[in-house]
Symmetry: C2
Subunit: 199 residues, 2 copies
DNA sequence: GTCTATATCCAGATAGAC
DNA sequence: GTCTATCTGGATATAGAC
């Protein structure tokens, strides 16, 4: 039994090690304050490998960015598939984001706490990426079917997700001290009161 | 008359030129992508002067940070003095922020769009600075006097200001194409419905 | 494909004339 | 106080052995 526990020396693939090391360091210190050498040391990889796999520091950041936005996109897709009404979908997305903030802090921080334009060229802004576009689309449907108040879509979208995003940022900044899921029900209550059309 | 128009060759004081040049460049390209030499060129000042006045690049950023947060603090104070109820104060702050986003874009961008911890040491986080603390205090008062729903203060604060901050960020990112004040009334309507306690 | 050692470049900072 | 010219460190990136 003990050797079972110690068993998994299945080493993570090398590019995965690089990405996770980079994610941790970027979130901790900020992209520009992290040198390739630090990534190299933490990932237990040589500089040459980093250049071979990603072509350089910015390549690592780009790969990370795409990977994480892709994960987030899948999360949104799953929520959409699992829930019927726009409101249920919005609530489930917020719930998932709150849960992820606790369990996958750095991933959430990388999405919501970094100014990607400062170090990534070419990639679209996060708020223009697939998952965020889908979130706005859900809100649009909610407006069209009469579930949400008939106001400007930007206003409704910001009203639905703005408070949640703000709480995520405050939690990441260490201002909010308790896990976000504890606040979920209360927050959904105020959002709902703000945007759900009352017959 | 024409020479009156052309008159003001009163040169801005040198440290003011440095700060405005730095603000523009930092917002445009990000702190780490701006070199002192660029600031120097745009401000029409020598590098030596920058070091004399601010002690270096980070000194410039710190002075800028303090200055802008101070301005924002005065704005919040003025609003508090001019309006009686917590809700009126919150609405007025959002109104001012929306207006400033159009008329003083870079100032707002510097506050809401930069990760200051990545380049400023020692200074408190923006969300821990005086103006933001006062905004939370207003919300607290609103809860205590029964104007706002009796939920966790973080939830209420985020519900009040989160949507507005989100819209500011989307506007700064170029996603929202029309001036924010046009959305103000609608946004205040959803916020109000979300957090104001209905007798 | 992976590594080490090295080259190149440039930003931040300084020295010292004026 | 302001300037120019210069120094220095460190980061990215490369070359070439294994």
């Amino acid at each position: 039994m003990p050797y079972l526990k110690k068993c998994p020396p299945v080493p993570e693939p090398i590019d995965c090690r690089i990405l996770t090391a980079a994610l941790d360091l970027f979130v901790e210190n900020g992209y520009h304050n992290v040198s390739i050498h630090e990534v190299q040391k933490r990932a237990q990889v040589s500089i040459g490998s980093i250049y071979n796999h990603f072509g350089g520091k910015e390549g690592v950041a780009q790969a990370l960015y795409k990977h994480i936005l892709n994960e987030m996109d899948e999360l949104v897709d799953a929520v959409i598939a699992a829930h019927a009404s726009p409101w249920q979908q919005c609530a489930a997305i917020i719930s998932e984001l709150f849960a992820h903030t606790e369990t996958h802090r750095n991933i959430i921080a990388f999405v919501f706490h970094a100014k990607h334009t400062e170090f990534i060229s070419q990639e679209p802004l996060a708020c223009n990426s697939a998952p965020f576009t889908k979130m706005r689309h859900i809100v649009l449907q909610g407006i069209e079917c009469g579930d949400f108040v008939a106001l400007d879509p930007w206003v409704v979208t910001s009203s639905v997700f703005g408070g949640a995003i703000r709480m995520i940022q405050l939690r990441l900044d260490g201002m909010i001290e308790r896990p976000l899921p504890e606040y979920e029900a209360m927050l959904l209550q105020t959002i709902r009161a703000g945007v759900i059309r009352t017959a």
